[in-house]
Amino acid sequence: MGKFKEVFLKNTWYENPVFVLVLGICSTLAVTNNLKNTFIMTIGVMLVTGFSNLTVSLLKNLIPSKVRMITQVLIISFYVIIVDIILKAYLPDVSKALGPYVGLIITNCIIMGRAEAFAQSNPPLISFWDGITSGFGYMIVLVTIAFFRELLGFGTIFGYKVMPGNFVNWTIMIMPPSAFFMLALFIWIVKGFKKEGAK
């Protein structure tokens, strides 16, 4: 069990894919102005990372190394299509709001990175866990950003009004630039904390 805990801590804190490695921030930054969409999107990413890691790890001895990359991309697209179909069937409004960004999970570099760096050389179960926790590390950051953006931009959380009536919405928070500012702020704070810990 020690190894599972180690992988968990590594993926969510010490080597968090977003604020340490700066990977995969493309497709989801665009939907972080709404907590619900972010939540569903990141769960999708988490599942895709987990299962594609599992599959890559199971098939690693069967895939010739020359066609490794394209096979990994195909495995990832397979799971993304499943996520897309499930969303279309059960959450059509969310699926519509996310638009092309569900398909863009395929090119999320975290998933490809984990498949290549971890699943390719590790047994299936731990690879699955590695994928899930990487996705979780990603989720923490994006949900935090989405929380502040929705709170300040719309005055709501999960669509419920929480700010007092005389609160003026910060329109900038729902526009693209604030996603960059929020992520920068997040990285700044986390790095500051990490330095304290190292001393």
Partner: protein, 197 residues
């Protein structure tokens, strides 16, 4: 959404007002990691523009003549990504034969483009908004040029920023993201001129 939009309007809109990078957040990973040097940014920008224009046109044809008639909509993502990977591979061979100097200057950036989300993103937007072939080509070319412009600008800014006194935890990625945010705000200033959604 609007099928009657002028392709030229679309072209300028995708460079400035709805820049694929600054307003749709696509192609961020390579944008942040490559923009440390002006020269490689230029190479990558060129490669992205080239691949984006070609793949958007091919994906449009594939969408119209393969995916829709054979009802393969559920395989759309896989088909698009295969087309992109194939185009990159072919382009790599063609450039190697015809323009070895360009091939050397593009180097590792050409194969890396397969996993650049901006390429797939443009194809998906093109399909979602029902563009015609001509509109798609201008949209692809404009988005590529917009991406190129943004990465070269950022690389030039980063050279100066590197020399500035910045709090240690903000160094590197942090300040780069803030710079991108300010750039995004500046590009938003164009929004009043043309609007495409």
């Amino acid at each position: 959404m609007n099928p009657n939009i002028n392709p030229l309007v679309l072209f300028f809109a995708s460079i400035f007002t709805s820049n694929i990078l600054l307003s749709n957040f696509l192609g961020m990973c390579s944008f942040i990691s490559i923009s440390k040097s002006l020269k490689s940014s230029n190479g990558l920008g060129m490669a992205v523009t080239m691949v984006m224009t070609i793949t958007t046109a091919i994906n449009w044809l594939v969408e119209k003549y393969v995916i829709v008639p054979f009802q393969l909509e559920y395989l759309r993502y896989i088909i698009y990504i295969i087309v992109i990977a194939a185009v990159v591979q072919i382009l790599e061979m063609v450039i190697d034969r015809t323009a070895p100097n360009l091939y050397i200057s593009l180097g590792i950036f050409l194969p890396l483009i397969t996993v650049n989300c901006a390429i797939l993103g443009v194809a998906l937007f093109m399909q979602l908004r029902n563009y015609t072939l001509l509109q798609s080509i201008f949209f692809g070319l404009g988005s590529g040029l917009g991406w190129w412009l943004a990465i070269v600008l950022l690389a030039a800014i980063r050279i100066k920023v590197d020399k500035a006194p910045i709090p240690a935890p903000l160094k590197g990625v942090g300040i780069t993201l803030i710079t991108i945010g300010i750039m995004a705000m500046a590009f938003m200033g164009f929004a009043g001129m043309i609007n495409v959604q």
